[in-house]
Symmetry: C2
Subunit: 334 residues, 2 copies
């Protein structure tokens, strides 16, 4: 099993990328890596290059690049070369901490879409109070949603929840502005009908955004625009409140005392629960291979967990199963 | 100045409604109330009926009623009678804790829209870390947004921020899935262009949902579907995290100690900062009179603050100013 790694994406590249990668390499003997990046920066970080092939490149895509143009023009960029490795059959999956837009473009133009999938969906794993978490898609690969796309997100999310999260009958819900079936705009009303009529999934109906963290659904289907707003509102609110709570603790003067130290650990635990990156990366589901993005600010731990997640996706052939499903649908229609 | 009050809406009606009302009545000598509700329940709560006229009705609209039908059929419902009082010129504003959908229907069919406004927007005041807060609209009056409607929300929000929040040059932002001008779906790209070309407001560009609580904008314009998701995601996340924090404090055993008591107050303060109802009610902007809704779970304090807010809106003639603005636009086009 080979993973193509873009070593140059993210805020702390290539250090955190290589540190996380080495930990995953040591844990999984079946895992090999092709690492794309600046040799001068990357090589010194690899103390032991067992099952690691380093391919030098100077070019990289940054946040200021227009995604589609960058992927087309910067043919030697570490992200583009990683996607190319999958296309050429040299690797099974792509991993990057770089720009979501560019990774989506590289996924679409180089790795390619699964037949039957119009647009891939970006799918992170998010926390719930019971610690089990849920997946939500699309959170921003696609700003303009269509009902058929949302239906495909439901099917792909269901496969992922069974395969990767080990759920036998994942509860699939539609993010909407009310719980009743008739709620929402035309897009969400149409999507509700499609999901209701899809026998292969366990559709439990609409979910409102204030219920997301309660763990009432395993797969939440949403259009990329609304999903993006909900995800960012959750992240921003969690960060803001925890900062205020830390301030309140500081103000009491109990910070250094025994209870204060316990509390500090408790709050740290809550903070890490709501730190989305600790749940692995966000998967671009709908492409012909796992293309997975970790947060730009991810640390070596987050990189390790994301590689672990990719390892499982390749091992279970999740993408292959999704591909077969949509091929069967196609045959049924033909 | 007369406010028509639906005494029967909300989870703790009519008790909290009357308690909050009495406090506002005692504070504002220019304020009179027409209270619609069940005399047997309401009358005993009014210890002193100075400037309060109680109008008995048995009928009321509840959460299970289909809003439009209910407003059309339940002609004696306390909410319908309140709206009717404004239509007949007997009152200047409507206040209710009842169903948002029904209040919107009553606003549209009985109070009526301002000429030039296609759909009213629901506008709450939300917290920011600096304690100043911001307004956001639409958060759910209208599931299907159009660019022209969002433009109108910006204009109305700007009037409100100047008039009620005392801001000289309110910063108006568009909730979008990225900060760059070209971001978003067609609706948000179109809206960006319209806002950019509107000289009367101080448009500062796009804002992402994770920035909302930071206080970077005074008026946030959004379509009702996205706004609803963002608002509920904020509410749900705040509630969830504060619950976890309280649990963490409890686990340390410092709860009863001196620092713990201080901390309890600190956390309470944070909780009340993020309790949306403490910022007054949500205004249905775009109707011919102030129609304001407090949260169904609001307490007497929230009722008091909402009546205070209505008092200011009527005193400043905010709705009149909005109405004149759109009448002028109409004249300019004619």
């Amino acid at each position: 099993m080979k993973i193509a790694v873009d070593a140059m994406g993210g805020d702390h590249a290539p250090k955190v990328v290589i540190d996380g990668l080495l930990r995953a390499r040591d844990e999984y003997p079946d895992l090999e890596f092709i690492v794309y990046g600046d040799e001068a920066q990357v090589k010194p970080l690899i103390s032991d290059d067992t099952r690691i092939t380093l391919v030098h490149t100077n070019e990289q895509i940054d946040g200021n690049d227009e995604p589609v143009k960058a992927v087309r023009r910067k043919k030697q960029a570490s992200m583009v070369l990683s996607a190319q490795a999958v296309k050429n059959g040299e690797a099974d999956a792509v991993f990057s901490l770089g720009s979501t837009g560019a990774l989506l473009a590289a996924g679409l133009f180089i790795v390619g879409r699964i037949k039957g999938i119009d647009r891939p969906g970006l799918m992170p794993t998010l926390p719930t109070v019971d610690g089990k978490g849920f997946i939500m898609l699309d959170v921003g690969a696609n700003a303009e949603g269509k009902a058929q796309q949302l239906l495909n997100y439901a099917v792909m999310g269901d496969f992922y929840a069974r395969d990767l999260r080990g759920l036998k009958n994942p509860r699939v819900a539609l993010l909407n502005n009310g719980s009743e079936p008739h709620k929402g705009d035309t897009l969400h009303q149409e999507t509700y009908q499609l999901l209701e009529n899809l026998d292969s999934i366990n559709f439990i109906g609409n979910i409102e955004a204030d219920q997301l963290l309660k763990g009432v659904a395993d797969v939440v289907v949403t259009d990329g625009f609304t999903g993006n707003a909900a995800l960012k509102a959750i992240e921003g609110t969690a960060k803001t409140i925890l900062k205020l709570v830390k301030g309140a603790i500081y103000d009491t003067g109990i910070k250094g005392k025994l209870g204060g130290l316990l509390l500090k650990d408790g709050i740290k635990g809550i903070a890490s629960t709501f730190d989305v990156s600790s749940y692995g990366g966000a998967v671009l589901l709908g492409l012909k291979a796992p293309v997975v993005k970790a947060h730009g600010g991810a640390d070596a731990d987050a990189v390790y967990y994301t590689i672990k997640q990719i390892h499982e996706m390749v091992q279970n052939d999740t993408v292959g199963k999704v591909q077969s499903y949509f091929a069967r649908q196609d045959d049924d229609l033909a």
